[in-house]
Amino acid sequence: MAAMIEVEGLTKRFGPVLAVDGVSMTVERGEVLGFLGPNGAGKSTTMKMITGFLTPTAGTARLCGHDVLAEPLAVKRRLGYLPEGAPTYPDMTVLAFLEWVASVRGFAGAEKRARIERAMRATSLGEVIYYPIEALSKGFKRRVGLAQALLHDPEVLVLDEPTDGLDPNQKHEVRTLIRAMAAAKAIVISTHILEEVEAICTRAVVIARGRLVADGSPAALAARSRWHNAVTVRVLPDQRVAAMTALAPLPAVAAVEAEESPTDGLVALSALPAGGQPIEGAVRGALAAAGIAPRDLRIERGRLDEVFRAITTGAITTGSDAAGAVRKAA
């Protein structure tokens, strides 16, 4: 079966500005795709084109096999979309707004009530249903937007910054909700919160200056970090020099970075591996030889924020898969 979302060479030009430049990707059922990029990279513009709000300058998107340019209504019936900023009609009450969305989507009678009931339960809106939306906090407004997107139990969900403005408990609820729905749907979420990507996304793509620059699992992205497989040991301050002298010359170690903790006075020494190879054995051996017993030892998985920064500022070259997709589309 074809992918639930197929994006082919999507390009958007606003006058002289190339906002999105030949983005291609596919999302399968069961995937939660994290759409990452700095502000202004083209995340929202890409989402607006996938959902049929903006007409692309070139390229197209297909949802469940329906082309968004040729069959916009078929696409929109299968799509739940939380636009950037979760816009809603401020003078309506939560209930009236959800009833309106349900009517527009063609639901009536008992089914309409049941769907509104379920969407409100999923987003914990029960206590505010008779409030005008303009009187709600940012977190509630976002959840109203989310309820609207979930109302018709769509096969494809596109959520532009679904947890923006939520407190930690609400973020947790929304992430749990997304994870619970993931198996039956194809979900795209844009975010700039990297912990969110590691928490709920099965795949992440990074967009910078309108181009897709990376595509892979969060773990694979993290593995590109120079911190991947790095070993961090904590030692007493007077062991700092000796430990650094022991670790720095090792051929498997590319660099050693030290950081003193302001709370317990211990020094964290991080040995970065040369070529991303595991170096735990070498580090333990060298420390033992120097007679240093570290307080603890931790192996790093890689730092997503560092990879993100490096990719989006152009310090890491594009992954071969993503670059191939971009070239093919162009």
Partner: protein
């Protein structure tokens, strides 16, 4: 059909959700009363008809109708709800026609509230109520024309003030094109063919003849096509703005 009605209902309710609707209706009725009785010499004329009442409708609409239409699309654009509306499974004609009909229904409500004028004139004399009904029909059609222009121009901008000013200017142009004053003023400057074309697309001449009780099919067809044209333009403008 459910989709379309839901849009019309929401738009109509939106007018009454804020004081806009009540302010509009009160101003409309007060100004209409003042104009009819003082400027229009309703009593002094000694005739049992509503001619002085209907005469002022185009000029009042000129000021008030753009205030009804200015928010239709501009407000959605400003608050971003247009993105919600246009990513719901709504066909463009449903959105355009739904909004237009809501505005038209609102105008009809305001117009219906002028019924005391009909009562008064029937108490004072024996008017030709057929002509009065024709006058109301003509007034509603004229309002529909202004609304269609205003709605389309509201889709051009996210700024309601701009939407208001541009719509007023456009409606003013369509109103005065055919008037003898304008014709005399520009008669030397433009060829007679242009003058004739301007007279033909002018709204006020056709409105005047309907309020006199002359309901000609070609006038009805004109009003209907005028509205249809501007609704189509509305859809095109919204579609074009999607292309950014």
């Amino acid at each position: 059909m459910g989709t379309f009605l839901a849009i019309t209902r929401r738009e109509l309710a939106a007018y009454f959700a804020t004081p806009v609707a009540y302010v509009f209706i009160i101003i409309f009725l007060v100004m209409l009363g003042a104009l009819t009785f003082s400027v229009g010499n309703f009593f002094e004329r000694g005739q049992a008809d509503l001619t002085p009442f209907f005469t002022f409708h185009p000029w009042l609409y000129l000021l008030l109708i753009p205030a009804i239409t200015m928010r239709l699309w501009a407000e959605e654009r400003r608050t971003g709800t247009i993105e919600l509306l246009l990513t719901l499974p709504v066909a463009m004609w449903q959105a355009v026609l739904g909004k237009f009909l809501a505005a038209w229904a609102f105008t009809a409500i305001a117009l219906a509230l002028t019924f005391p004028f009909v009562v008064i004139v029937n108490i004072l004399g024996t008017p030709d109520n057929g002509v009065i009904v024709a006058g109301y029909a003509g007034s509603l059609l004229l309002a529909g024309c202004y609304l269609a222009v205003g709605a389309a121009l509201s889709a051009l901008t996210r700024n309601q003030v701009i939407a208001f000013v541009v719509a007023t200017a456009a409606c003013f142009a369509f109103t005065v094109f055919g008037s003898p004053v304008v014709a005399g003023f520009i008669a030397d400057a433009v060829p007679s063919g242009v003058l004739e074309a301007m007279r033909r697309i002018s709204l006020i001449g056709r409105f005047d003849s309907i309020t006199r009780g002359v309901i000609a099919l070609r006038d009805i067809v004109f009003f209907a096509s005028f509205i249809a044209f501007w609704l189509y333009a509305n859809a095109v403008i919204v579609e074009l703005r999607k292309a950014g």
